[in-house]
């Protein structure tokens, strides 16, 4: 398939292996450009295998249509799986404020989370022109990869939002609300549908959705669509010139005055800190664990660990003191019913009221 650097290889062992290379791909190509292994004399490479008949199993059952429909909610580019429904950009904006903005920031600009920034949902443009940017030199601008500039299909957005978002409580958005959120996100990405800009009044429905053409739809190689899709992938991956390959040079391969690039700004804020010591860990005096701590960590810390999303954060005396001014019962009630960007029960709808209250108590106790 491609040649080794024979000139630089001298030992006979290597020549023998070069012959092997010549045959690794003979006849058949694997879809990933790699070697193909077959079962031969009861062996699959170094593994012995059971070559008895493995057919006619009767386990399991045939899923019903309803069961399949309950799980098969993916949406494909041709509209397969896209439900009926509709929603306006304005409605999407309202929903975004309440359910998404605390993480993804104003107009999808990306917000600060407890550890780093949440994904940017828009760079305010649908132009693909930055995608050729390379940060080869200091201070160069990189490519801007966001929904409008990078995603090839809008179907991905509908499917992902309905199955994976909002992050703390996915699979909670109706079809209409999902249409509205998709409409809003497309509008902040400056996407047009059928030549029309998406202003506040714009109502997205299934029919209009199927007319969306994402700006970067032709930005991906190889072409995976149609009956030749897998064959195109195979051809692409079987040519390592497409993704870089080395040469097995053994002597005088590069200029001996090598250019050594050292770490400029070291990142070493690791948790736990790096150490290879073999010593006993110093035991922290652990008091009794508060029953609400686990619940807090599992369901609340995603928003309440920092004040980045406007939630009264753990350990913030002032924030909790002012929350508690209205009395603990009102605070519980607000939490259980939801208030502003705080979803009902923080999105953890399975918590009992007692469990929810104990998570609140834990936060209050640790914020005094």
């Amino acid at each position: 398939m491609f040649m080794l650097d024979h000139k630089k290889i001298i030992s006979t062992a290597m020549i023998a292996s070069a012959i092997f290379f010549g045959t690794a791909h003979a006849g058949e190509q694997a879809i990933d450009g790699g070697a193909i292994y077959k079962v031969k004399d009861g062996m699959y490479t170094s593994y012995a295998v059971n070559t008895q008949d493995k057919k006619d199993f009767k386990y399991g059952k045939v899923p019903s249509k309803t069961e399949i429909a309950a799980w098969d909610i993916d949406v494909m580019p041709d509209g397969t799986g896209l439900p009926e429904g509709k929603g306006s950009v304005e409605r999407g904006d309202e929903l975004y404020e309440v359910k998404c903005g605390m993480c993804h920031g104003d107009f999808g600009s990306g917000g600060q989370g407890s550890r780093s920034t949440y994904p940017t949902l828009s760079v305010g443009s649908a132009s693909t022109e930055t995608l050729t940017n390379q940060r080869n030199v200091p201070d160069a601008d990189g490519p801007k990869r966001a929904i409008g500039t990078y995603w090839p299909q809008a179907s991905t957005l509908f499917w992902y939002i309905q199955s994976g978002m909002p992050f703390p409580h996915p699979k909670s958005l109706s079809n209409d609300d999902t249409y509205a959120l998709v409409a809003y996100i497309l509008s902040i990405n400056e996407i047009e549908i059928d030549g029309e800009t998406l202003d506040d009044e714009y109502v997205l429905d299934r029919e209009k959705f199927l007319k969306i053409k994402m700006p970067n739809v032709d930005g991906f190689i190889p072409n995976i669509d149609g009956p030749e899709g897998p064959a195109n992938v195979k051809k692409f991956l079987n040519d390592p010139k497409n993704y870089g390959n080395g040469t097995r040079c053994m002597k005088d391969c590069i200029d001996p005055k090598v250019n050594i690039v050292r770490i400029k700004v070291e990142i070493n804020a690791f948790e736990p800190p790096m150490s290879v010591e073999r010593t006993m860990k110093e035991e922290k005096v652990t008091g009794k664990v508060h029953p609400g701590q686990k619940l807090y960590e599992a369901s609340c810390s995603v928003c309440h660990a920092t004040d980045a999303m406007g939630a009264p954060n753990l350990g913030n005396k002032d924030a909790w003191a002012s929350v508690l001014e209205k009395g603990i019962d009102k605070v519980y009630a607000n939490g259980i019913n939801g208030i502003n960007a705080m979803p009902p029960k923080g999105g953890a709808i399975d918590l009992t009221e007692a469990q929810f209250k104990s998570a609140v108590d834990y936060m209050i106790k640790n914020s005094k």
Binding site: F21, A24, H25, A30, I31, D32, G34, A35, S46, Y59, G60, V62, P63, M76, G111, G113, Y118, T128, L131, T132, Q134, R135, N136, R145, Y150, P152, T156, Y160, S163, G164, F167, P170, G219, I221, P222, I224, D225, G229, P230, K234, L237, P240, Y243, G244, N245, G246, T247, R248, M250, D255, V258, N259, I263, V265, E266, F270, E271, M274, V302, A305
Partner: protein, 445 residues
């Protein structure tokens, strides 16, 4: 084994009676033993009387673990590592999180890795919506789409299928991804720890669907998880019918929640992200699905502005694990014979050769492979080196049996640029200083 007969049971009774009779006498001896132990102040009664400064106190003095009882067998019904090993652990850094600790990654301590099997508790952990805890009783696997007969299985039913066991690494294609534009971590755990390896047990999908009548038009399969993110990816049917597996065990026990308990997809040699965890649904189709993780992410943007999609295999790769920044040579003396060790792997085949260089890649020599040499698996390499205390630029380069050669940084970036994020497999170089300190550097020509 001899069976315990009536008489021997009686013998035991007699012995225990004798013990009772002697117990008061034994108590006397026990007290005496305590006194004499304190009298010798924990110095070995077997040791020579005269101690010199060179004598190792670890030998001369009795140790607590040799003079007291250890734990009863009833402690830790599920065993845990020695408390002295607590630094051998996964680690995280904020840079690698998307917002919080739920869509994030924790890195495998490969500087402490021995052999080619990662202990289950140290396996790197990447999730897109937290680590799900699936109740095995409510677990279902649905197989549908372009098949004559769709199928729904419980976990117990799935495990009735004939199993195979294989050793494979799993690597996140973003392994090394923060370092396209230069080194950032003086740590092998963070430079290369988005990978681990295990022995996986499960069923080959081709065996599982043999009876289901896969239709000719079926070219792709969606694999989808049941976790918070319901992560899905499109897999070509050709891989499904080759070595793809559905696995439920890892190193002899059930998968860990971090690895997708109770069931995950296993696509030997391919991107970790494709090996969907908490697997719920397989749907066969004519066209690919365009999931978020195969469009927005896990695509390789090249300088032409076009991005490579469906880039499945992890290409041939290697790294020297000893020495490394965490495990330097600062304790060596000139003239010491030391083993240089490392890991080589390829998602496109079996490791054929590993070469190492001491001068940053000007000259190379082939080194020995050691241990099991398996397809799509970590493979150990080894070289005996006489330490001279002089500066080195130490690196390894692997070659696999499909003819792929690990590229230099220059060779790789010439094709894919520096904005690819994923699939970085270029040669990793350690700068070893004259003091034996090891630093992560990039060598450019």
């Amino acid at each position: 084994m001899t069976k315990m007969t009536k008489t021997s049971e009686q013998d035991l009774d007699i012995v225990s009676e004798m013990n009772m009779a002697q117990s008061s006498r034994r108590n006397f001896f026990r007290k005496a033993a305590v006194y004499s132990a304190s009298a010798v102040a924990a110095t070995s009664i077997l040791s020579p009387v005269k101690l010199s400064a060179e004598d190792d106190s670890a030998i001369i003095h009795h140790k607590k673990w040799g003079t007291t009882l250890g734990d009863p067998v009833t402690k830790n019904h599920y065993g845990i590592p020695s408390p002295y090993e607590h630094n051998n652990t996964r680690r995280t850094t904020a840079l690698l999180a998307s917002g919080d600790n739920y869509a994030s990654i924790s890195m495998c301590p490969i500087h402490e890795q021995e052999g080619i099997i990662t202990p289950n508790g140290l396996f790197f952990n990447r999730s897109h919506g937290g680590v799900a805890h699936v109740d095995p009783k409510d677990y279902r696997l649905m197989i549908h789409g372009l098949l004559e007969k769709p199928l729904l299985l419980t976990l117990d039913e799935l495990k009735r299928y004939p199993s195979v066991t294989r050793i494979h690494f799993i690597e996140c294609p973003a392994n090394g991804g923060p370092e396209w534009r230069g080194p950032q971590f003086n740590s092998i755990q963070f430079a290369k720890g988005m990978m681990s390896s295990a022995e996986w047990t499960g069923v080959l999908i081709k065996d599982l669907i043999a009876d289901l009548g896969l239709k000719k038009e079926a070219l792709w399969m969606l694999a989808e998880g049941c976790d918070n993110s319901e992560m899905g990816r499109t897999v070509p049917v050709e891989k499904v019918l080759d070595d793809a597996m559905i696995v439920w065990a890892q190193n002899g026990e059930a998968l860990r929640p971090e690895q997708g308990y109770p069931v995950r997809l296993m696509l030997p040699g391919w991107e970790g992200n494709l090996q969907v965890k908490w697997l719920k649904r397989l749907e066969f189709s004519k066209e690919p699905f365009y999931a978020k993780e195969e469009t927005a992410k896990y695509t390789v943007l090249t300088p032409s502005g076009k991005a490579i999609q469906h880039f499945y295999p992890l290409e041939v790769n290697s790294i020297i694990t000893s020495p490394c920044p965490e495990k330097p040579w600062t304790d060596l003396k000139k003239g010491d014979l030391v083993e240089i060790q490392g890991l080589a792997w390829s998602g496109q085949g079996t490791i054929k050769h590993v070469d190492i260089t001491f001068d940053g890649g000007v000259n190379w020599k082939e080194v020995s492979l050691k241990g099991l040499v398996l397809p799509k698996s970590w493979t150990r390499f080894s070289y005996m080196y006489r330490y001279e205390g002089k500066p080195l630029l130490l690196a390894s380069r692997a070659v696999d049996d499909s003819g792929h050669v690990q590229p230099t940084i220059d060779q790789e970036t010439a094709v894919v640029g520096v904005e690819a994020v994923y699939h970085r497999n270029s040669i990793c170089t350690w700068e070893v200083t004259d003091k034996g300190v090891v630093n992560n550097v990039h060598v450019r020509s």
